[in-house]
Symmetry: C2
Subunit: 351 residues, 2 copies
DNA sequence: CCGATGTACTGTATCGATCCAGAACTGGAT
DNA sequence: ATCCAGTTCTGGATCGATACAGTACATCGG
């Protein structure tokens, strides 16, 4: 049988509590006794207080969960997500807290069960659609939740960290307008209920399910509206997924149109890099023949001279972790809007 | 105060156990009573059995830990690691088990504390040097441990999943020999104690700390030895890290030598892709002017026509998770050697 | 009407650790 | 010797849930 505090206590001839103190509150007992306890513990093969017993008693699990949809691999594949996770994990580590990955493959019973039975002190919702039942289940746990996928319209208690998506794309739109672009295409994911790549017709972006896509498109609409370009003139193209090849595939639907748009915007840098690939294959030069812009400023963006909107993913992850680890009571500081900055590089030029 | 099983039991007028059964063993009570219980639970704001209490009682945490060094971001950055994590996470998910990331930034007290206090049912050691004290701490927990970073010479209880590294590189070496290559360079990481990029002189690969690098170099040595090329004729170059730019940087030390090696091998595909970048910048063609080969067969390898050794990272992750979730008692099946296969593509050609 | 079988539920012990009130001891001042 | 403050240690209560033995009651065949 595995040794417990009691086993060690009996062996040394002291009480359970004293052994506990030897590990967790060294100032509560004499150094000699402590040494003796640790020595016998080692001899008995006792490796220190069991985390589960401790968690139960302390009411603290020592971990935070990250809800990911639809697959874990997304979190490991998208460069922006990677940076986010990095910021989150590093902050958690500093607070001696683990990070539990909870992939929500489907919004099914299994997923609910996983959320309900995760030993964690809080949930971070990242790139999960707001309507997932698993999110409701997380709420039901009564633990702190910070949201970074969509603006929590539903619950006043929700914590949020992100950027002003619409303002960011508005700035990008204004940049393109200033360069004289009037005929533009936008490539994004989840613009359509289906997974198919290709042009989509949206009467308005206002009803899109994906928060990020919706807000970013709204920003574009507003920027171009100011310049007299109405929404219906903006070409919107759905990409099958957020990857470079899928961006390239979607870009074909923009570049092979006549007349060709003078600017193509990817709603993420990964998609925009795909657009650059498509340009390359057609012998077109970014910034001259067609302007290209992205979103996020991932590491590869700079080396490809991609104009983009910079938002710090690690910072976002860091803030998310801090909000979870001690949630401020002040409502204002529970809603963190990080700065975003337009970075102009060579991939955009005059129309 | 947060409601518990008891609260609900009192409200309904049944025993704690029955409420527990309502959640965990629905077949043990009548559907009507169950419905009534769940209804009052909801009314009281009880969200279901507390995971910590359950873990303690069941003796199962419902999570497995992945030990990562030196940073989490490595796991999220290296394509091979990403695939590994994917396989692991997917398998864990199917078994209703979470994946806890435990970054071991340094081998310090904090790291030890994290390992000691993680509520998990097992540890997976991935890309962590074997001498880390945190690994000893994990061992001390008495939980199943599966190792995928290095061959566990130390402990007979160790589980392992991986490939026969030496045999795999031997096959790659033989391929190059058959093509007539006699003058080759190998680029790898951790070939040197320092982090500096550049050529290193190793009397023999046998004493390298990094298990993977050591075994792979041994395979090369043996393959070329059979063809009469002695170890000292093989150029070994250290890359500062496992990334494409760092591979490119290291490649310069091979390509700018005179005489130029006829083949350059990257000990990972990421490094090999960097070699291809370096070739491109010099106007050299892979497979004609210089042969290039890699290791792993990451997704990008195929699109770049890279000759490589294929090993399935997801499979490796899957097996790791399965070993952890129910460790076989039979010693033979605790040591899983997965197949690796040489994939010949256009990046290698006659010398 | 008796004993056998089965269902539905209860009560208690247990998991391993931490908290806390207080006991026992220590040493120094009075 | 007495008192007191401080330190060191103890034992019981507690965290929230689950396992399991055991009870009450209904059903059923003979």
């Amino acid at each position: 049988m595995r040794p417990t505090l009691q086993t060690v206590a009996d062996a040394v001839g002291v009480s359970r509590s004293t052994v506990s103190n030897a590990y967790s509150r060294p100032d509560q007992l004499s150094p000699q006794l402590r040494k003796k306890i640790l020595r016998t513990a080692k001899k008995l093969g006792y490796a220190g207080p069991d985390p589960m017993g401790r968690s139960l008693r302390r009411g603290r699990a020592g971990a935070i969960a990250v809800l990911l949809a639809p697959t874990v691999s997304y979190a490991f594949t998208d460069p922006y997500a990677v940076q986010f996770m990095k910021g989150l994990a590093e902050t958690a580590e500093r607070r001696e807290t683990g990070v539990l990955l909870v992939p929500l493959k489907d919004d099914d019973e299994d997923a609910l069960a996983t959320v309900q039975s995760a030993s964690v002190d809080g949930f971070c919702v990242y790139c999960v659609p707001g309507w997932f039942r698993a999110i409701k289940a997380a709420w039901a746990r009564g633990l702190p939740i910070v949201n970074s996928s969509y603006e929590g319209e539903d619950d006043a208690d929700a914590m949020f960290v992100g950027i002003d998506e619409a303002a960011a794309t508005r700035a990008l739109g204004q940049h393109l307008i200033a360069l004289g672009h009037r005929h533009v295409a936008v490539i994004g994911t989840q613009l359509d209920s289906g997974q198919l790549a290709g042009p989509v017709t949206l009467e308005t972006p206002d009803h899109l399910e994906s928060y990020v896509s919706r807000e970013r498109l709204r920003g574009f609409r507003d920027a171009f509206a100011e310049a007299g370009v109405v929404w219906s003139e903006i070409v919107t193209i759905n990409a099958a997924g957020n990857s470079r090849p899928e961006g390239e595939q979607a870009a074909a639907y923009a570049l092979d149109r006549t007349p060709r748009p003078t600017a193509v915007v990817g709603l993420s840098d990964v998609l925009a890099l795909g657009v650059l690939d498509a340009l390359g294959k057609r012998g077109l030069r970014a910034g001259h023949d067609v302007s290209v812009a992205g979103f996020d400023d991932i590491p590869d963006a700079a080396s490809h001279q991609l104009t983009t909107v910079r938002q710090s993913a690690t910072e976002r992850g860091r803030v998310a972790a801090e909000l979870l680890l001690d949630p401020p009571s002040d409502p204002a500081s529970r809603h963190v809007v990080l700065p975003a900055e337009l970075i102009v590089r060579a991939s955009t030029g005059p129309a």
